[in-house]
Symmetry: none
Subunit: 197 residues, 4 copies
């Protein structure tokens, strides 16, 4: 009753995995990790309850898998952003692409921000998130150094916090004036007034 050609197995496995992860991401974003049940995810993904455990050890394991996959996408986008010529252009690109990524992966960011503020869950994704945080700070610091900012380290932290804050306000607040705020952000941080101060 269930013969399969061997070569089809891997494709089926991958398809099921993706289906489950996509369903889980949507449910996690909509209801939060704690309040999402495995049943809801399975039902939303159109698979059986037990199938999930063929691919993921546990609910937390599923969350980790989703985060790692999404982080890869995000990282890829960031690397793309680094291709500007001048430091100013790079910074502009970085900001612009950050918010494009935010729009494209809204569900993931929703989940990401709620994970980051939930103390218990932060420890689940220890390495990647911490490393990523650091790397963003370093990247920003580099750009600001190239722009001859007098205090690139503190300014990089500040800019990072600003981007983070805007991103979150944009997610939680409806009708957030994102464009105006980003314009203001670039004006504030990219005025070539550093030499003057």
């Amino acid at each position: 009753m269930c013969p399969r050609t061997a070569e089809a197995y891997e494709a089926i496995r991958e398809a099921s995995k993706q289906k489950i992860m996509q369903a889980a991401l949507e449910i996690f974003a909509r209801r939060g990790f704690e309040k999402s049940s495995i049943r809801q995810i399975a039902s939303h993904g159109g698979v059986s309850l037990g199938l999930m455990y063929n691919y993921f050890k546990s609910k937390e394991d599923l969350l980790i898998a989703i985060c790692q996959k999404s982080m890869q996408d995000v990282q890829a986008s960031f690397i793309e952003a680094d291709k500007g010529r001048t430091a100013k252009e790079k910074l502009e690109r970085l900001v612009a692409s950050s918010f494009e990524i935010l729009a494209q992966h809204r569900d993931f960011w929703q989940v990401f921000y709620s994970l980051r503020s939930q103390p218990g869950l932060k420890d689940l994704l220890p390495e990647s998130f911490q490393l990523w945080h650091k790397s963003i700070h370093v990247q920003l610091k580099t750009y600001l150094s190239e722009l001859t900012h007098p205090n690139p380290d503190a300014a990089a932290w500040l800019l990072f916090a600003t981007i983070d804050g805007v991103a979150q306000h944009n997610i939680w607040e409806e009708n957030y004036p994102l464009k105006a705020v980003l314009d203001e952000l670039l004006k504030t941080y990219l005025e070539d007034s550093y030499a003057a101060t």
Copy 2:
């Protein structure tokens, strides 16, 4: 007909209430609202499981009571901050006092930020939080207008996001260079260069 006096009972009640609220705040901050159980809170507070229900209708009611109490403290501090003479001084005080409050009420802010990012929980505290959000934006906008900022609305959103972002990074990140970042923040937003641009 010789029970305790009414005042004695009131004192006992108030003490127990505070003990429970304090214990709950610590547990909520440490583990998140959803993952905190009544049993953990009771145990941490050194009271029995059922005592909470003498004072709070439910776990959610307890959360609301905690938030309202903490919000009062926070509001009081903010009002204090408004006593500067010039707009610049007011803004400086607002930023300074915000982070003093953050340090003094770390647990509450931890809980606040995790509530705000959890989809379901945002609706629990609808009025006060939303109003507060708005009022901060308005206050910042007023200060920036007084400082003749060319685009006070967008700048107020931006500044708000920055403060929010710094606050969160300061909470999640150990050894966050808060002082340097705040200096940079004030330098960035309080340069009296608005007239010039």
Copy 3:
């Protein structure tokens, strides 16, 4: 702070006891024994939670006390009914007084009937209820014998069941045509047709 003349104590005790029993009877009738809480009863009676335990060992003990007191009232009324001259008159009086008692002690009967059908609770009031059941049957059988009923034992059971059934329908059913049914009852059981059959 709480001096009392010794002679007043007993009066106070009795008054409190009655207040509690009356409150409990009303609550039990309205919500059923299981769903009534000690808190509700104390609150309804205007006394403190703990006072009840000065007078009654437990919730069940309170129930028993109420039933015993009410049964005494009921018994007294029944004895009164036995004062007719002829058997026919006695039977008429018994029926009439039964339903008067029912109307006067509605709350008790409500409780009584719900107790009787609740298996666990039947055992709480073991003697009085059983004895009372038997004595009613005997009394009815005597009357019917005097009326030369050919099968007084079965008829007494039947009449008892009828009275019981009418009483319950009258309690649960709104707008129950009690008067018409009782007329019919008397007509059915008191037709002097026994000699004929």
Copy 4:
């Protein structure tokens, strides 16, 4: 892709459902609905605590399911009873079948009567029970009309109360002389003396 067939699952489901319903009926009858706990039912049925919730939304839902199933059986028996030729025969059959049903579904009737007398629970089964009550009265009234009873409405209420009362006494009283009482009942209500009076 080789799970059990859909029919196999359905059979398993039905078996478990029946097991739970049967266990619940027995426990409800023995201890009353309120005093019966899900744990007792599960234990008595030899299944796990949570299994009930795979099949029934709640404890109340389980009760409703049990009542509906039992009511169907009861209704079927009543319809059978209506097949007599004369009104007298129909009435005889109705009474006879009522008490056969009572004997066959003793647990259900125990539960039914305790539900009916418990104030809060009466509202749980609103439609079917109320309708059924009415329909019995109507049916009895019809038979009595056909028997040219001078006051069929009151007599129908009376007969209904009698049947109800006998049924309950038969349930609560051990060694109840049911046969004799029923004979007496039929004699009382089926004497063809209506024309004479």
